[in-house]
Symmetry: C2
Subunit: 361 residues, 2 copies
């Protein structure tokens, strides 16, 4: 079967928009990053926020991943339900509702959580008490991104002390996101923090780095024990733009139909902000790469309309034509759908539920 | 109970982020717009893309709406399942999969669809044949928005002729979106198109205008028979910005927790692009209005992080504090969640499923 026939089959069986992943490419991406981690002697703890599927997480584990990373409790719950274990939730979890759920989850699996402030750490013993077993805590450290994360090694050491003194908590180590620019600064931060926690009689067991764009920096932070990358399993236009992926590494595309061509230089796709999302991925050249018409630009969205600018494209699609769009940011697109159509080459082989979608918290 | 106690209760029972609607305000919004339609002698056909809930659609119908508008087949299916009838799907539907579903739906309810090109019209008889009853078709006309919609009255008349000649199709009328600026142009377009279809022996039964911001323009287009507004049921920061709503009309907010305050002038909310979405609503002042800290700005997102800039805000939240965020664009936020927490004032009264969410096509 050809790709054209596959597109027609997907459209006929599932309708468009449809989110399609190529499992051959997924497997290649999983294997490649596992090899990179092995070569850097850093354990692989892939971030499942990208796919939210226990099926895909198990493929990552089978290829050698030590554990997985989740960004929220709801994702971790679905993964434990799906048979995964050894989970890092790289997020400040707070509040009675979350502590109750975290406690129940900790009964069933090994969980480590992140914290960057005393309020979060003071709440965590509640979960450990519910579980009747210790909860591992890593300290999230900011080294330039200005998101969550303590800003100084001194604060990190203070939090390590608080963890040490908290019933049911176990100091696990540090969470970083060192980029090409920030890893030397991260190394200095880490060296100072390490000295501080050793003075408290603590030894980090987890020193985590992150990010698909930062895979080439793996191992630059001495004593890093593991890496959490997510996007690499599918890749997207952001990864193409930063050189972290080639077009052949892009395993996910949105199949969309051209539904209107009201004027020669413009058209409408049936995929708008409720499918491809308004997330530009910090690219300033429209939303998504149309594989069949790479010169065409999706320049704006309504909720169910993608506005095509065809001025730069000599080839132009007809109404009814199905095209494949590689999104700017794949993680937020997967989050919009309840299922992924799985293909190998030009053959449909499976439908995977996005099991952890809709778990808001 | 106070709003502070309500916030605590929502966080304790449901966790944050949670999407909360105030049914008292919802009812006021429904009643107000129904009155505006009645006063303009225009039937009300609210667009349910905003709420995707048959429960809320029935409240709109009970208040006097003639029917409802959907943007996709999946929404219409859920609405028919929920007991609604007389549905306009204001979208070019295409392809065998959609024609099969449309045919099944047409067996169960009165459906009108939009079309702006011959390819779409040529496919529609398949649905009518499956249903064994005629399908109403309105012609979508562009009067300045450059989205879908024929650009000239001449093209509209040609499509009307094609509908007339197509087995199982019934010409219903015209779909417009006249704004404050474009309604005179729309009137000229309509006058010419009306002349043309009358020459074919056709008479429009549906002349539809749309948009919450365009409610003040209702009735300016002579012979408009109905209006489709969606956002008014909840309103949002866009509607505040364009004067279509007051703060008291905003019926939906996202309850979010401050999870990090790594530096005095910044913080992190547990609501990022997977909750509030990257849709700016064309506002250039951050994402969302924080009711408790209106001077604070959500200046960027990660997937589960909202980046707070507190520089302009004298009052600053503590870690663990729950705040309410009115999103820039409410329709895309509802689409992210599987349930809405319904309150009246400071009391939780219900949980409504967002029944039509996740129906991609």
């Amino acid at each position: 079967m050809s790709i054209e026939a596959l597109k027609r089959q997907v459209a006929d069986e599932f309708g468009t928009p449809a989110v399609v992943i190529d499992l051959d490419r997924v497997e290649r991406n999983i294997a490649r990053v596992q090899q990179l981690c092995d070569a850097a002697r850093v354990a692989n703890r892939p971030h499942i926020k990208t796919h939210k599927s226990p099926v895909l997480a198990k493929m990552q584990a089978a290829a050698g991943a030590k554990g997985i990373t989740c960004q929220k409790l709801g994702e971790a719950e679905v993964m434990v339900e799906g048979g995964l274990d050894d989970i890092l939730i790289s997020y400040n979890l707070l509040g009675a509702e979350k502590m109750g759920r975290l406690g129940q989850l900790l009964k069933r699996a090994t969980i480590t959580v992140a914290a960057d402030n005393p309020t979060v750490i003071e709440g965590l013993p509640q979960a450990a008490e519910i579980a009747g077993r210790p909860l591992g805590v890593v300290i999230e450290c900011d080294t330039g991104r200005k998101r969550a994360g303590v800003e100084t090694a001194k604060e990190a050491v203070e939090l390590a002390k608080l963890i040490k003194e908290s019933p049911g908590l176990r100091f696990e180590g540090f969470l970083f996101y060192p980029t090409e620019q920030s890893w030397p600064q991260t190394q200095r931060f880490y060296n100072e923090a390490l000295k501080g926690v050793r003075a408290l009689g603590l030894e980090p067991r987890m020193v985590s780095t992150g990010g698909t764009p930062n895979l080439p920096n793996m191992g630059k932070l001495e004593e890093a024990t593991e890496h959490r990358a997510g996007t690499y399993i599918f890749n997207d236009r952001m990864m193409l733009a930063c050189g972290a992926a080639t077009p052949e590494d892009c395993a996910l595309s949105v199949y969309a139909t051209v539904v209107s061509r009201a004027a020669p230089e413009r058209g409408i796709l049936d995929s708008g902000s409720k499918t491809l999302t308004a997330d530009t991925g910090a690219l300033d050249d429209g939303f998504g790469l149309i594989l069949e018409y790479p010169q065409a630009k999706i320049h704006a969205f309504a909720e169910e309309h993608g506005f095509l600018d065809l001025a730069r494209s000599n080839a132009r699609p007809k109404v009814g034509e199905v095209v494949r769009v590689v999104p700017n940011h794949v993680c937020v697109v997967v989050n919009m759908v309840d299922r992924l159509i799985a293909v190998r080459g030009d053959r449909i082989v499976d439908v995977l539920p996005v099991a952890a979608r809709g778990r808001l918290a």
